[in-house]
């Protein structure tokens, strides 16, 4: 029992088709006990479909699943959980208005004669959380937790079921570096206990940090499995995208011009942002690095007028501007691609067309009164073409697009509004390698047109790869500014924790 070579899960020749699409073709996967397996592939490669088959959300068309030595037919999510498979989705499945402990034991409350044993529940969940090295009070309401903490709670919940296989679908996308480290520690602890983990991520460095082996999928097909230590990053990307990789960060001739945006001492009354001042120039990509919760998003929301600023001034091209609402910001040529595109950026049930013109409705008005749908369609098609959005038609609802294409629709919305100061908050979160590069290319085109681009990103490699200058924030203040010639992960990392 428990030897590292024993297989816990094996998938053989899994096929799955949706009407009109073959999602998976003869996919194989093998997972040993106590192993961390990275499942890699671009968006649409079939990772999520495969995981949904394992979690019982979808049924496979053919192929076999061998779990713990027995062939199984996974009937439902409950069946999957009973077998010992726990899955942590990208989107959190927690309830905001109950306590952390209740969330951990949701649906499995410890009972005695039909009465919930609250004390036991709090004690057990606190013990579990402490064991994993997380510092959270389980009596607190979930809504008091940060996004990152909620992500960790989701993981605790999965672990609490004593699952033999834990599937993590992009668990780090909302975690800061230190929280990611904490997650990796948790993964290592699970490994020691003999739990196997399937780890899905778009951050390739994390694969080297925590995974033993990797299985690569492309276009629903099984490409291969390798030991992580035998594969270089470039080889991995080439296997994912099926062609040789040019540089992940497209190069750019920076021509930095005059100061366009100047922010002086803005603050929200000392809560998350304290006296932040900076300048941004035309033709410049200015990065904002730091840990999650450092106040970067809050700073940008204040500049955009989405949140109220208590003090401070904003100047655009030397003139003081009064921004009290997003409308004011838009009038002053500011565009804001928010970090949660689904919640704050898109109208998912509406079409690409409708989303594209949302900020610039004036542009499609005839006689200033009513819409000219020909114009609407033409604009939407222009930006689909310009940004290489993959879609059959501009009438397609955006909920049917992949993450990368959704992000392009958000970008199109701001480009059509003629914004010349564009703030991008985590622009490539949850987007695959190929689409990421396309977003970077769009950023290059924007600065080539003398626009100002501000990128907030927790992906340090990305900020270094695409920015001309990086401002680092820590606990609501700017802890340092780094110029291109002195970019390094260690400098920025140092400043992120306060310098």
């Amino acid at each position: 029992m428990g030897t590292a070579t024993e297989t816990i899960l094996e998938l053989r020749k899994i096929n799955k088709a949706f009407p009109g699409v073959k999602a998976l073709t003869d996919v194989e996967l093998m997972l040993k006990k106590g192993e961390v397996l990275a499942l890699v592939g671009e968006n649409g490669a079939g990772k999520s479909t495969l995981m949904k088959i394992l979690s019982g959300a979808y049924k496979k068309d053919s192929g076999s699943i061998i779990f713990d030595g027995k062939e199984v037919e996974i009937q439902s999510p409950i069946h999957s959980e009973e077998l010992g498979i726990a899955i942590i989705y990208q989107e959190l499945n927690l309830i905001q208005r109950i306590t952390v402990a209740e969330n951990v034991y949701l649906g499995r409350y410890p009972e005695h004669n039909g009465v919930i044993q609250w004390k036991q529940m709090y004690e057990d969940s606190q013990k579990l959380i402490n064991e994993l090295g997380i510092n959270i009070d389980v009596h607190k309401m979930l809504r008091e937790m940060s996004l990152a903490e909620q992500q960790l709670i989701e993981i605790v919940k999965a672990v609490s079921t004593n699952a033999k296989v834990v599937i993590m679908d992009e668990p780090t996308s909302s975690l800061s570096q230190s929280e990611t480290e904490l997650l990796f520690d948790i993964i290592r602890k699970l490994k020691e206990k003999g739990t196997s983990i399937i780890f899905i991520t778009h951050r390739l460095d994390e694969i080297y940090a925590v995974c033993d082996r990797m299985t690569i999928l492309r276009d629903g097909c099984y490409i291969g499995s390798r030991d992580v230590k035998d594969v270089t990053k470039n080889e991995m990307i080439e296997m994912m995208i099926g062609r040789k990789l040019t540089n992940q960060y497209p190069s750019r001739e920076s021509v930095i011009g005059e100061t366009v945006l100047e922010v002086k001492n803005i603050s929200d009354g000392g809560k998350r942002v304290k006296n932040v001042s900076f300048q941004a120039h035309s033709g410049e990509v200015l990065g904002f690095a730091g840990l999650v919760g450092a106040g970067r998003t809050e700073t940008m929301r204040m500049i955009f007028g989405a949140d109220k600023k208590i003090s401070g001034e904003i100047f655009i091209r030397g003139k003081a501007v009064d921004i009290r609402s997003p409308r004011d910001a838009i009038r002053n040529g500011i565009g804001f691609v928010t970090e949660n595109r689904k919640e704050e950026g898109l109208f998912l049930r509406s079409s690409i067309k409708v989303n594209t013109v949302m900020v610039a409705l004036k542009k499609i008005l005839k006689a200033g009164l009513y819409f000219d749908f020909k114009k609407e369609k033409a604009y939407a098609e222009e930006y689909v073409k310009k940004l290489h959005t993959a879609t059959s038609s501009v009438n397609k609802r955006v909920m049917f697009l992949s993450g990368g294409n959704q992000q392009k629709v958000v970008l199109a919305k701001w480009l059509l509004s003629d914004a010349d100061i564009i703030i991008l908050d985590e622009p490539t979160r949850g987007i695959d390698v190929g689409a990421k590069r396309e977003i970077y290319e769009i950023i290059n085109e924007l600065v080539a047109e003398k626009k100002v681009v501000i990128v907030v990103s927790s992906d340090m490699e990305e900020v270094i790869g695409i920015c001309d200058r990086i401002i680092v924030m820590h606990e609501g203040v700017i802890s340092g500014e780094v110029l291109k010639e002195s970019f390094s992960q260690s400098t920025i990392g140092q400043l992120s924790v306060g310098g």
Binding site: P19, A306, P326, T338, E343, L348, M358, F371
Partner: protein, 321 residues
């Protein structure tokens, strides 16, 4: 052969999907024509249209509120209030008909504006906010009318509810159709309509896209009040008197029309279809001699079934993608 069949099936599916509630009407007409010979006549159809006018006009306003992500439970009372006010102004204050209508409709719009204010600025859920408004308005109706019907209305007023154009087309039907044409235009072709849909779908994203979220909400409630008041004028004209208890069921009928019609699919004419489904079923049950008590049971079931059908349709179209 099999493939061709499948193609036809798929095409029919798409057409059925696009028709929404109109399909229910079509099926109803075909079935009723086959089993009852009094159904498929011009006079019966005109009758049905005439009966749905009040609900239809009211539901048009409610559609905007529902599309904007809120609900309006006060529209029925707003309608009654406007009708009674107009009747009072004409009979007790000897006001000219047009002026009385104008004032009554203005007060109705004001009621909507107040609802909008309560929901938008005091952040009270619209279900509760408009429920409260409903009682407030009902109270005012009882105070102003002393709970007595207001009679003695002139013919020029009654014409709005009982008149015919060219002796065939009822005036209220014409009013309703004009309302729907304007409403459909507002929803589809104007920034206001677009804002309503955006605010209803994702208020956060709407605000961050620079839309006037609060203004939109205020406006849609005001429009709701306006339409309810206009419906109330037609209702009063049909009944020949301002009846303090006449609109008690109207709010819910209007909401039902919006949901049965599946107005979420984007067209205001779906609401008209929803109102017509209601009307045709009522009419059919009457012709078939179903007792009034059982009619309630059937109508309630229809509301649930229609929304269920809509949910299934949405699921199927998602799966297709």
């Amino acid at each position: 052969m099999d493939k061709a069949n499948k193609n036809i099936k798929e095409k029919l599916g798409t057409i059925a999907n696009g028709m929404g509630a109109w399909l229910i009407i079509l099926i109803l007409i075909v079935v009723m024509t086959l089993i009852n010979d009094k159904f498929f006549t011009v006079s019966n159809f005109i009758n049905v249209f005439r009966q749905v006018c009040v609900v239809g006009i009211c539901a048009l306003g409610v559609s905007f509120v529902v599309l904007g992500g809120e609900i309006d439970l006060s529209s029925g009372m707003s309608a009654t209030f406007a009708g009674c006010n107009a009747a009072l102004l004409i009979t007790k204050c000897n006001m000219p008909v047009w002026l009385a209508i104008l004032i009554a409709v203005a007060i109705g719009s004001l009621v909507g504006l107040v609802s909008g204010f309560i929901v938008t600025y005091w952040k009270i859920p619209s279900f509760i906010g408009t429920l409260g408004m409903q009682y407030v308005v009902q109270g005012f109706i009882l105070i102003t009318t002393n709970s007595m019907p207001v009679t003695g209305l002139p013919d020029s007023f009654l014409y709005l509810g009982r008149g015919y154009i060219a002796n065939v087309i009822p005036v209220p039907v014409v009013i309703m159709l004009i309302f729907f044409i304007i409403g459909a235009f507002l929803l589809k072709y104007t920034p206001f309509g677009r804002s309503v849909i955006a605010v209803g779908e994702n208020p956060e994203a709407a605000a961050l896209s620079g839309l006037k979220v609060k203004m939109t909400k205020m406006l849609m409630f005001t429009l709701g009040g306006f339409c309810a008041a206009c419906a109330g004028i037609v209702m009063t004209a049909r009944l020949s008197s301002g009846q303090p208890s006449s609109g008690s069921d109207l709010s819910l009928q209007a909401l039902a029309a919006v949901y049965i019609g599946g107005t979420f699919n984007g067209s205001m004419f779906n609401t008209l279809a929803g109102a017509l489904v209601w009307g045709f079923i009522n009419n059919s049950l009457n012709l078939l001699g179903v007792s009034a008590y059982w009619q309630k049971v059937v109508l309630g079931g229809i509301i649930i079934l229609a929304v269920l059908l809509d949910t299934i349709r949405a699921k199927v179209s998602v799966k297709k993608q």
